[in-house]
Amino acid sequence: MNTNAGNEARLAAWLAQHGAIVRRLSRVYATDAADRQDLHQEMLIQLWRSLPSFREQARESTWIYRVCLNTALTWKRAWQRRQALAAPGACARAEAGAVRTSPAEIHEHSQQVEVLMSAMRELPAGECSLLVLALEGVSHREIGEVLGMTENHVGVALLRARRKLNALLQETNDEL
């Protein structure tokens, strides 16, 4: 099997098993349908480009989380530039609240998750990434490996992030 065919088979296997991770992560870091599609595509391209440097010692899920989060955290630049051009002076909170979701996406995710994602987008990027991984059910140790933090630090930072998230969700409930 040549390298390209091998890489294609591996990417297909990854997407069959972990495709939902890429979709969920692109939903958290992009607010509207077009941006989600762009980010999702960008994550897939970066996964493909990263395949030659993937080593068997690494866990597939850890690798996928790393590539997708790295892409999301650097991709936002283009998104913010477009947002700034479209609506000069719009604050992050207003952008986070202006979530437009297609009917198919509503079907896929419950409204509760939309509320959760909106609240998460209001948090700093580091805390948002921690919460994404915790919600995915990733262990503290693996979160540390993905983000480059110690396990103890993950525990403390996650506790703080969960408190902030709870406060934001409470605020949203009061508004509703």
Binding site: N4, E8, L11, A12, L15, A16, Q17, H18, G19, A20, V22, R23, R24, Q41, L44, I45, Q46, L47, W48, R49, S50, S53, F54, A58, W63, R66, V67, L69, N70, T71, L73, T74, R77, R81, H107, E108, H109, S110, Q112, V113, L116, P124, A125, G126, E127, S129, A134, L135, E136, G137, E145, V146, L147, G148, M149, H153, V156, A157, R162, L169
Partner: protein
């Protein structure tokens, strides 16, 4: 609602994979095609950036060779070609280095943020120092040709002075515009992007 309930809702309704076998194959082929066209676009952009300087080096080198073959003074043309070639080489080496450093994206998020910050700072350095590595060598290259015209052209002194002034004037206007544009990008968009990345790195580091 407890965190465990949120976790449950998070996974609810999303199928684990990305469709059946045929759909997956289509998706993988599409990703591969887009990755290739992305690589081609980057390679073309890099080639285009250095092509201008290479073209200038080739033209000045050719003029130098014509002069040398005819037994006329050619040292100004050789210097002009060498300066333009140095700019092209610098651009090519820098792009090659950047492509090598960007490729692997499977590093930990904190390490990737460090890399992105370093890359951002390098871009900032390139933009704010464009005078030293691009404008001055290429400008000096044009200056050498102007000097050649002034020293060795058979035309009258007035005509030589007019040609030299026009060449220097056009070069100066273009270079000042380029310098201002680079500074605007560096001190606006790029600086705020680096600050944002540093902020994210601080958040991840706690």
């Amino acid at each position: 609602m407890s965190f465990e309930k949120w976790q449950q809702a998070w996974h609810e309704g999303s199928a684990p994979g990305a469709g059946d076998g045929a759909a997956l194959q289509r998706l993988v082929h599409e990703v591969r095609g887009k990755a290739r066209s992305f690589e081609r676009a980057i390679a073309w952009r890099d080639a285009r950036e250095s092509f201008g300087a290479l073209l200038v080096a080739a033209v000045f080198g050719w003029v130098g060779w014509l002069n040398w073959s005819a037994g006329r003074p050619s040292w100004t043309c050789w210097i002009a070609a060498a300066l333009a070639f140095a700019v092209a080489a610098f651009l090519l080496i820098d792009r090659f280095r950047a492509r090598r450093s960007v490729r692997p994206r499977g590093a930990a998020v904190s390490a990737e943020l460090e890399r992105a910050i370093a890359e951002g700072r390098h871009q900032y350095w390139l933009l704010t120092n464009v005078v030293w590595w691009y404008l001055l060598p290429l400008g000096s290259s044009v200056g050498m040709i102007v000097l050649h015209v002034v020293l060795y052209s058979p035309q009258s002194l007035w005509l030589r002075a007019a040609i030299a002034s026009a060449m220097l004037g056009v070069t100066l206007v273009l270079y000042v515009a380029r310098w201002r544009m680079n500074l605007r990008v560096a001190n606006g968009e790029l600086r705020s992007w680096i600050a944002e990345l540093e902020d994210r790195r601080r958040q991840v580091a706690g």
